[in-house]
């Protein structure tokens, strides 16, 4: 009896001492790890993986090794938050031009598209896209089944029930780009956060599918926005027949938005009255 207790205690004590000795004698953690620990305190800690690393700590380790990683795999959440950005700038000793890197995701579709049939299959956009390229008339229309809402770490995406399209709240969006990767129709785009105007149509004649017309609410390539802009901030892309924007010249006058007959051009944040206008059309 006593010998059992003695052996067990002895082995326990020896194991404990061994761990203690190993802990004391081995060299301290490499400096990179301590640095990573410091950097990770300034990261959001959501482990969303949008930066391309498996988690915030892995990102911090990569940052502590090479601070250029911040520009190649940017953490969008840090960019939005001044305290976190300040902490990162201080601990990594770098200067970040916030406006140049800040992005917002927008759904490039105005909705209101006619359906070619009723879809009763699995309720995800990924599945719906596989059958006849989706159930909407336009092959580039938002299906509104909400694949993107599930991946958004900020819950910034909701489905507009009336128009049956996804709507991204620009105030909540951090520009992480997870929804851009998720969307099977590639109609969510990342645009600079200081954009004044959003072109909400993804119809692309180059990628057109024979036998499928585009929808009623999409861009009709009338070039009225291009003509309405007095500051030459709109550049007409002749190949795609869509407007492109030169942000340095745009003064946010709203002339192009007023000129658009299809309400395809909107502000970044769509206000309620605008939404109603689209609905009652």
């Amino acid at each position: 009896m006593w010998i059992i207790i003695a052996i067990l205690t002895a082995i326990g004590v020896i194991c404990g001492v061994l761990i203690w000795v190993t802990n004391k004698t081995l060299p301290k953690e490499p400096a990179s790890l301590a640095k990573a620990q410091e950097v990770s305190e300034h990261l959001p800690g959501m482990n969303c993986g949008a930066c391309g690393f498996p988690g915030c700590f892995a990102y911090a380790q990569a940052l502590s090794k090479d601070k250029k990683v911040f520009f190649s795999n940017v953490c969008a959440t840090v960019l939005q938050d001044n305290t976190m950005l300040g902490g990162i700038e201080k601990s990594l000793d770098l200067v970040v031009d916030k406006n140049a890197m800040n992005k917002k995701a927008v759904v490039c579709c105005s909705g209101d598209c006619e359906k070619i049939g009723t879809y009763v299959g699995v309720g995800t956009c990924k599945s719906a896209t596989k059958i006849l390229k989706g159930f909407k008339k336009c092959p580039f229309g938002c299906l509104g089944l909400g694949d993107c809402t599930h991946v958004c770490p900020q819950n910034a995406i909701s489905i507009d029930v009336d128009r049956k399209i996804a709507v991204i709240d620009p105030d909540k969006c951090t520009g992480c780009g997870l929804c851009v990767k998720e969307c099977p129709r590639n109609i969510i785009k990342l645009i600079p956060a200081d954009s004044k105007v959003v072109f909400r149509c993804s119809y692309d004649s180059i990628r057109d599918i024979p036998g499928r017309e585009k929808c009623e609410s999409g861009c009709i390539h009338c070039r009225r926005c291009f003509k309405a802009c007095e500051n030459e901030a709109i550049i007409w892309n002749k190949d795609k027949q869509i407007p492109e924007f030169d942000l340095s010249k745009c003064i946010d006058c709203g002339a192009c938005i007023a000129a658009c007959p299809k309400n395809v051009l909107t502000k970044l944040k769509v206000d309620a009255s605008k939404k109603e206008k689209v609905l009652t059309k």
Binding site: I7, I11, C15, G16, T22, L26
Partner: protein, 195 residues
């Protein structure tokens, strides 16, 4: 030391294939289902388990031979082995973390998870039961670890493909994995009786 026991190759093959830990002994089933979703994770986990198995066998064989048998307290082996394995994993983790940070990162969370893995405890108990000498127990642990890794790789390969298959909704995920494990186990029964 091992005049009477089976040859080393027999021990190795028996542990790796015939008496495979997962499919015929049903040990280490938690990582078999938990970590077999991706091939890369499966390989990391298998490598970590093999490493710990070999180290635990060395330590426990020493304790069994020089402490438990002389004092006639062999029945204490389970509780002492748990204690030794847990401390050993801690020491190995500390050692890897301080000396080779790249290896530590690639093993990741799996090393601490192995502390209470029944496959590791299983191999040490099997060694004690068969009264293996040092070389034999190392070989049997190596065989067990490699067999475990092999099964994890096979399972993850199958599960990566099953993801794309048209599985009934109620069978998706773990249920179909259990059925696959059963079929694999039946197939591996073909090896039984070869030694």
């Amino acid at each position: 030391m091992s005049e009477t026991g089976p040859s080393l190759i027999t021990i190795f093959m028996s542990m790796a294939l015939i008496n495979n830990f997962i499919l015929s002994k049903f040990l280490g089933l938690c990582p078999f289902f938990g970590v077999s979703k991706k091939l890369t994770n499966a390989i990391s986990m298998g490598a970590a388990v093999t490493l710990v198995m070999v180290m635990a066998s060395i330590a426990t064989t020493l304790i069994y031979r020089f402490i438990l048998v002389p004092y006639k307290v062999e029945f204490m082996n389970i509780i002492i082995y748990i204690l030794v394995i847990a401390s050993l994993v801690q020491i190995v983790e500390l050692f890897i973390k301080r000396t080779n940070i790249t290896l530590y990162n690639s093993l990741g969370i799996y090393l601490p998870l192995i502390t209470t893995n029944c496959a590791v405890l299983g191999i040490t108990l099997i060694n004690a039961q068969a009264n293996y000498a040092m070389v034999q127990s190392i070989i049997s642990a190596l065989g067990g670890g490699i067999g475990f890794t092999l099964m994890l790789i096979v399972m993850s390969g199958i599960r990566e493909r099953i993801e794309f298959a048209d599985t009934p909704k109620s069978m998706r995920g773990l249920p179909i994995a259990f059925i696959i494990a059963a079929i694999l186990s039946l197939a591996y029964m073909g090896f039984s009786g070869m030694i």
